[in-house]
């Protein structure tokens, strides 16, 4: 009587299924609830991993609902790698698609924000340009320059007040979120991830820069979106957090 790993694994995720035959106690009697130790270890450890990675979602749902959601998710999408910090990349999409959570349509974006903050925490270290380097460029070189941004930097454009909801869920006494769409810039100051609320112009600028556009083009996109876009303020934030890795000035080669 052999027990294959396919049989062992199938019964792990299905608490109603029989314990595979061929598993026993020390005296050769059927293993019975001893097998549940493994069921429990798998479900509890992956549920805890999701609680740890998505604390705002856990706060918004409450512990019991989070446990229930995790129990469905970990069966549908178990980790594909032993690096648990990378577990949950599609948790936001999963929450979006869950019919029972239709009344909380913002959860997916909150999960994506938590994921991006964690990705920033683990992202490659990078060097940054001196703040003067940008100001020292002659105007025509500035126009054609391309910014290379730090690997920890990312952008989340949401239909929901995602940053306010995340803050409400993670900080005691934070105000109840209002109702407007928010664009969020995620970056890392030293080793600490930060989420910054930015305007639609800044979001358009960053989206353009990260797709490889030169500064003049990115600026056009930004001002088309928001005529009041404040380039100096955004560059100040990027330079102040070391988020600009390099400037490529193609015109000068």
């Amino acid at each position: 009587m052999t027990v294959t790993q396919t049989e062992f694994r199938a019964a792990l995720f299905d608490p109603s299924s029989d314990v595979p035959e061929g598993l026993c106690d020390g005296q050769g009697r059927p293993a019975g609830r001893r097998y549940n130790v493994y069921r429990n270890n798998v479900a509890v450890s992956l549920t805890e991993a999701l609680h740890e990675s998505f604390p705002a979602i856990a706060r918004l749902l409450g512990k019991q609902n989070m446990d229930g959601v995790a129990s469905v998710y970990l069966r549908q999408s178990p980790p594909s790698s032993p690096i648990l910090a990378q577990y949950g990349e599609d948790f936001g999409d999963f929450l979006d698609a869950m019919p029972q959570l239709e009344h909380m349509p913002y959860l997916g974006d909150v999960a994506r924000l938590e994921w991006l903050l964690r990705a920033a925490y683990h992202a490659s270290d990078s060097t940054s340009i001196a703040p003067e380097a940008l100001a020292a460029l002659p105007p025509e070189a500035f126009d054609n320059a391309r910014l290379i941004l730090a690997p920890s930097l990312s952008l989340l454009q949401s239909r929901w007040p995602v940053l306010d909801i995340w803050t409400y869920a993670t900080e005691d006494g934070a105000p109840k979120p209002g109702g407007t769409a928010q664009d969020v810039l995620i970056l890392r100051r030293g080793y600490d991830p930060e989420a910054h609320l930015i305007g639609s112009g800044a979001a358009a600028f960053l989206a353009s820069v990260t797709s490889g556009a030169p500064l003049n083009r990115a600026l056009e996109h930004a001002t088309a979106k928001d005529p009041a876009f404040d380039l100096a303020a955004l560059l100040g934030l990027l330079l102040g957090t070391g988020a600009i890795q390099d400037i490529q000035t193609g015109a000068m080669t």
């Binding site: 061929g22 598993l23 130790v37 992956l46 980790p79 790698s81 690096i83 690997p151």
Partner: protein, 285 residues
């Protein structure tokens, strides 16, 4: 003190603890009896950031044991080549005093189940595990230590005893062994054998590292005790006694205290390490 630790481990025959990021400042400032640290390989496989910076700092101060918890050496399928690459990169970067993994499986059909799942001790398992260890050792360019599991059940198909099975793997692959004394106590209680006879049968001359940890208590369907290897509390008294029994036979070895759930403050963990250090002092004298 004569260091009798066999070659696959270059850890000092002293006390160590499992490293937790929240202990970073305290461990650096007040190491106490702690002379080396174990880190879980899979927690240091990100591209950069604070985890790797912390690891650079602690590895300058302490000898490091890299302990893999996710390779699935006992898996029926092939080892994950990406994970082998990540382990090789980490071992190359940290040049740890020891690298160890488990006699268990955790990945099946591409799903990582985050638990150390049990194996039948058969000739087929032996061949597969030995092949996987050969592949790992050749990829990372060094010998590893293989750890005995905590068992909650047995396989009717097993034809080997666990200590003999581990000794045979070590003989075939040249790997060393890690002896988790808490796992021995847990398995012996759960499967109804004498933990001292297990230690007597273990290839102690191959043991490069000894582990200790806390366990929880439950019961099975018949009301028999069922201990769970939780690493969530202090090491139990009978496990300390079993450590003394082991050290008296093995001689001094690197001894690690693992505390992974409900992690205590540094003074509490460091006091456990001090207790391990005094057990070592008894056999060194």
């Amino acid at each position: 003190m004569r260091d009798t630790t066999p070659p696959p481990s270059r850890l000092p025959a002293r006390a160590g603890v499992g490293f937790k990021p929240q202990h970073f400042d305290d461990a650096m400032a007040e190491p106490g009896a702690v002379e080396w640290l174990e880190v879980h390989a899979e927690n240091y496989m990100g591209a950069g950031g604070r985890p790797l910076a912390m690891m650079r700092a602690v590895s300058e101060r302490f000898a490091i044991s890299v302990h893999g918890v996710g390779l699935s050496i006992g898996g029926e399928g092939p080892l994950d080549p990406d994970h082998l690459d990540r382990l090789a990169h980490l071992v190359n970067w940290l040049a740890p005093a020891s690298f160890s993994e488990h006699l268990a499986w955790s990945t099946h059909d591409g799903a990582f189940l985050n638990d150390l799942l049990p194996l039948p001790y058969t000739n087929a398992t032996l061949t597969r595990v030995a092949d996987h260890i050969d592949a790992l050792q050749s990829r990372i360019g060094r010998q590893m230590l293989l750890e005995n599991p905590s068992s909650y059940l047995a396989f009717a198909e097993s034809t080997w005893g666990e200590p003999e099975f581990l000794a045979e793997i070590a003989r075939r692959t040249g790997c060393g062994l890690l002896l988790d004394v808490n796992n021995v106590f847990v398995s012996a209680t759960n499967l109804g054998y004498d933990p001292r006879s297990y230690i007597d049968a273990y290839a102690l001359d191959q043991v490069g590292e000894i582990h200790l940890g806390g366990h929880d208590s439950d019961t099975d369907d018949t009301g028999a005790p069922l201990l769970i290897d939780s690493h969530g509390r202090a090491v139990a008294d009978p496990v300390w006694t079993l450590l003394d029994y082991t050290l008296a036979r093995s001689g001094p070895r690197p001894v690690l205290v693992e505390w992974d759930a409900d992690v205590p403050d540094w003074p509490t963990l460091s006091a456990e390490a001090a207790r391990a250090a005094s057990a070592l002092a008894k056999v060194a004298a």
